[in-house]
């Protein structure tokens, strides 16, 4: 199909300095876990987007010097010739597909803990980072400022050598240039502090020097948090924000504008739980009023209508995207081809971001299982190897894992029968998407449902059978499938078993009317009393989401949490606003406590660290610490159990127990994936399904083939012409 003319505006080229972007789709800098040390990963993950139609594709933040070292988190680096060589792979591959490559030159100041380099960083004033807490910078004097500006210039020259078309001076997320601009960080009284002109001086001088060095060859971009959201304690868009844009505009070709800081950068990379697409427009829209240059901005734009609207309305010139480009690297191409319903829409869960926050493992995506697997496993998001056999496959369970396995198997040309007892594809996502703020997570189901319904029409032997009685072991054995994939999901524990005690809580039993599991809440048959105590031993969203749901429905909610409540949501950037919500709505949280027993109407809780601090060997049968005596009772009408999950694996184990019958029934293998294998993130369950579908004809499809590793190689020095042997100072 042809592109809808209403989207033509998204495909108009736009000039930025000496370069031209071929359309208005632009992947802003975002982390992926590749950096400069995994050049294959970096090159493949970025260039797949160039192939998918994006006009500009950037690195993640890219350190200009070892004194901006973010280790344990993972940035790219442009420190030396070794980095130039490795990043060149990325720019070369991007250029092959006709897109421009950008690099985001970064100096973190106190926010970079320098745990690898052991350097001390510089900043406008001395403070310890509100992001790192333990790390202080040194207050820069004039010599230091001259040196800092030169670090950007030297790095820009290396960036040009590495083939970058767009060179950023990165001043969003509270990094160095913004620290000079913002009175929150800048307490100076010299010509770099005080008035706006003085606070802007460092940034403007740096832009001017970088422009002078590489401006004829590269477009000069700057990423600017136009409002730090602290009111007049920081930068406000209609005060310092637009004035700074006017001052720096002559030295900039491309403004990349957002809001917020680093400690709460979820205000920029807003999770769908709290923010809809385009949530930064009220701030971003001011920039085009004062700038003569191209302006781009993010806002998790997933919808072509909205993208066209913000450009048509003159709010932005270019659609910046990080998460939507991860979820669907072919988003521009699909819009161009009129394939709107083939777009794998970002659900805004921020699990991609969580990996950077954790400290740099390769990123993952809930929607796109191929994200980060392009190089090491050779997975293309839109291309699938033709089936390697005529095997027919029965997939039991249409949740994230089973639906993804079926989709990829069907894409590969296999005959697949997908069965589920639910009326709808989606599994647990059908329930999760009903939780407060998580409606967009339903896009995960919607994408697979749409694709499966298309694919099943291409092969009349394939079938999607929903709403049927759960399959038994005998039915599976006699189904006539060559291979069976079990993807039957997991349940929340009904007896209080948790990762904390590894045992049931005496008295807890979800078959009783006062005890309720999350599934029972979704089912809606059990009456929930006014006073709810929610026992939580899960680190992710279920407990706080149920607390929101029950509180909104008028219940008094107390969470007793044996683990840090919503700990994983620090990593997904959902934590600050979630805690604000719980606080605003008077949800009581009792932390570091767990339950020792329960009975109708009350539960006995204790402080997890309430036993003796002193450890002594006291012989068998005796604990090495003084007994915990912190037990007390709290009352409830309903006790909600978010204590732990258990795989629903009975079908798989039943089939395994009758493996001797497989041969006679023509069954070549039975496999288990997703939560049924072990409870996990939706992203990882989706990966399981994708992975087994690509490897179903392998000798052991249950277990993943080895992937290609990118590691430092003994004998190959990082620096071209350098040495690798062990050498000590003499």
């Amino acid at each position: 199909m042809a592109r809808d003319p209403k989207y033509d505006i998204l495909f108009e080229p736009i000039k930025i300095g000496p370069k031209v972007l071929r359309n208005r789709f632009y992947q802003v800098p975002h982390c992926n876990g590749a950096g400069s040390d995994r050049p294959g990963f970096q090159a493949a993950n970025r260039s797949i987007k160039a192939e998918g139609g994006w006009a500009g594709i950037c690195t993640e933040y890219c350190s200009v010097h070892p004194e901006s070292d973010d280790c344990h988190r993972l940035s790219a680096r442009l420190w030396d010739e070794g980095d130039v060589r490795n990043l060149r792979a990325m720019t070369d591959h991007i250029h092959k597909h006709g897109a421009l490559a950008g690099v985001e030159m970064w100096y973190g100041s106190a926010h970079a803990p320098c745990m690898e380099s052991r350097c001390t960083s510089y900043g406008p004033s001395q403070f310890n980072s509100e992001f790192e807490n333990l790390t202080y910078c040194h207050e820069a004097d004039q010599d230091d400022i001259n040196r800092l500006e030169q670090l950007y210039v030297d790095s820009a020259l290396r960036a040009r050598d590495a083939g970058f078309d767009i060179v950023y001076v990165y001043g969003a997320h509270s990094y160095l240039p913004l620290q000079f601009l913002s009175p929150y960080y800048n307490k100076r009284t010299d010509k770099y502090g005080g008035s706006l002109e003085n606070r802007a001086r460092f940034w403007v001088e740096t832009l001017e020097k970088v422009r002078k060095a590489v401006g004829n060859d590269c477009a000069i971009a700057t990423r600017f948090a136009v409002d730090t959201l602290y009111g007049d304690a920081g930068v406000e868009v209609e005060v310092d924000g637009i004035k700074f844009v006017e001052m720096a505009d002559p030295f900039v070709d491309l403004w990349d504008v957002n809001v917020g800081d680093i400690a709460e950068w979820g205000e920029d990379a807003g999770p769908s739980r709290f923010y809809r697409q385009g949530h930064q427009i009220p701030w971003q829209q001011h920039i085009k009023r004062v700038s003569k240059k191209a302006v781009l901005g993010v806002g998790r734009f997933t919808d072509a209508e909205k993208m066209a609207e913000v450009i048509r309305n003159g709010h932005l010139d270019i659609i910046g995207a990080a998460r939507p480009s991860i979820s669907d690297p072919f988003l521009p191409q699909k819009i161009n081809e009129g394939r709107i319903d083939d777009i794998r829409v970002c659900i805004g869960c921020n699990v991609c971001i969580s990996r950077w926050e954790i400290g740099g493992p390769p990123f993952i995506c809930t929607q796109n299982a191929t994200a980060g697997e392009e190089y090491r496993r050779g997975w293309h998001p839109e291309k699938f190897p033709k089936r390697g056999s005529d095997d027919s496959i029965l997939v039991v369970g249409a949740g994230p894992a089973g639906a993804e396995a079926s989709r990829v198997l069907m894409e590969r040309g296999y005959t697949v029968h997908l069965v589920d007892s639910a009326e709808k594809i989606g599994g647990c996502v059908n329930s999760i998407a009903t939780l407060p703020g998580l409606g967009e997570w339903g896009y995960h189901r919607d994408y697979r449902e749409t694709q499966l319904n298309k694919l099943v029409k291409k092969n009349k032997d394939s079938q999607i059978a929903l709403g049927r009685k759960a399959m038994t072991v005998d039915e599976c054995l006699n189904y006539g499938a060559d291979k069976i994939i079990v993807a039957t999901g997991a349940d929340w524990r009904s007896d209080g078993t948790s990762g904390l005690t590894h045992a049931p809580i005496p008295g807890v039993d979800a078959s009783l009317d006062w005890c309720v599991t999350p599934e029972q809440i979704f089912e809606g048959k059990k009456k929930i009393g006014k006073r709810v105590v929610l026992l939580n031993c899960d680190c992710y969203f279920m407990a706080p989401s149920l607390a929101q749901r029950l509180r909104t429905a008028g219940h008094d909610v107390t969470i007793v949490s044996g683990v840090e409540l919503a700990r994983y949501m620090h990593f997904t950037l959902e934590s600050p606003n979630l805690h604000r919500w719980l606080h605003n709505n008077h949800v009581e949280i009792i932390s570091g406590a767990w339950a020792s027993r329960a009975e109708k109407g009350r539960v006995e809780i204790y402080d997890v660290l309430g036993d003796g601090w002193e450890r002594q060997y006291r012989g068998p049968g005796k604990l090495p610490r003084a007994e915990n005596t912190t037990q007390r009772w709290i009352e409830f009408d309903s006790l909600v159990l978010v204590t732990g999950r258990r795989s629903r694996d009975a079908l798989y184990r039943g089939l395994k127990a009758r493996a001797s019958e497989w041969g006679g029934k023509g069954i070549k293998g039975v496999y288990i994936i997703g939560d049924a294998w072990a409870p996990k993130l939706i992203a990882d369950a989706t990966f399981d399904g994708h992975r087994i579908a690509r490897e179903i004809e392998e000798k052991d499809p249950q277990h993943a083939k080895p992937y290609r590793r990118e590691v430092a190689v003994w004998g190959a020095p990082h620096m071209p012409g350098g040495k690798f042997e062990i050498e000590y100072q003499q």
């Binding site: 029968h417 189904y479 499938a481």
Partner: protein
């Protein structure tokens, strides 16, 4: 005892489609085919009787080109041992009475004791074919059946029909009879992969009208109407007024004048 189940491969239009140059049908480039949903229910009705009693044979049949065999294989994947497909290129565009003549001929040839058809087909929605089959065979018929009590070989069947307002009509019908089955009478089964594989090996008898002793003249005479034209009715559409404020005002004024003129 044999139950004949005529099924149809129906046309499904793409979201955006164009009409054929002769204006009598949609352009085949924009058409997909699938089994008629009602036929899942009529076939299931027959299979349930077959499974509950010994000596019952269920034969699915269709009047359609080679591609329509898919719908028969789909039936055979769920049960039944053989199927019948009737076709001649001259049948392209044939109406329900013509199709019914051929179904009736198959019923006679097979010695069918009952015919279960779908109430209607999803594409043309005449709801005529089953009833015409009854007329051809001079059998009684009941349309829109939502419940059936029938012992193979019995002289009468008891059926229920759902009427307006949730009213249920219960009646008996002499057998043999033609019943047209409504959605929801049962829960149609899905095929297993074993069934899908086995269905590929089951025989489908391919017959022409001539094989059934139906001549071209018979077919021509059976056409009870002639398709004149197929078209998309013009719809009132909103117009996005573009341009400068002055241009937009001018366009708006023109529209108002036109509307006043029309009134």
């Amino acid at each position: 005892m044999k139950i004949l189940v005529p099924v149809k491969q129906v046309a499904v239009l793409d979201e955006d489609f164009e009409l054929r140059d002769d204006g009598l049908d949609a352009d085949p480039d924009f058409i997909d085919h699938e089994s008629n949903e009602w036929d899942d229910y009529s076939y299931e009705t027959a299979l349930q009787i077959m499974e509950a009693h010994s000596g019952v044979e269920v034969v699915p049949m269709t009047v359609g080109p080679e591609e329509a065999e898919e719908s028969l294989r789909r039936c055979l994947a769920k049960g039944g041992e053989r199927a019948v497909r009737v076709w001649d290129d001259a049948l392209a565009g044939a109406g329900p009475a013509t199709i019914a003549k051929l179904i009736a001929a198959v019923a006679r040839r097979e010695g069918a004791d009952m015919v279960f058809a779908g109430t209607l087909s999803a594409d043309h929605s005449f709801a005529m074919t089953g009833i015409c089959v009854a007329a051809e065979l001079a059998w009684p018929h009941v349309a829109v059946v939502t419940h059936l009590e029938y012992e193979p070989g019995a002289a009468k069947a008891t059926v229920q029909r759902e009427l307006e307002g949730g009213l249920v009509e219960k009646l008996t019908v002499d057998c043999p009879a033609v019943l047209t089955i409504q959605l929801g009478i049962n829960q149609p089964r899905y095929a297993s992969l074993r069934g899908v594989k086995q269905a590929k090996e089951k025989p489908v008898d391919e017959l022409t009208p001539a094989d059934l002793g139906v001549s071209g003249e018979d077919l021509a005479a059976s056409a009870c109407f002639r398709l004149r034209r197929m078209f998309k009715p013009a719809k009132g559409q909103a117009e996005l007024i573009e341009g400068t404020a002055a241009e937009q005002a001018a366009r708006l004024a023109t529209i108002i004048k036109e509307l006043k003129g029309a009134a």
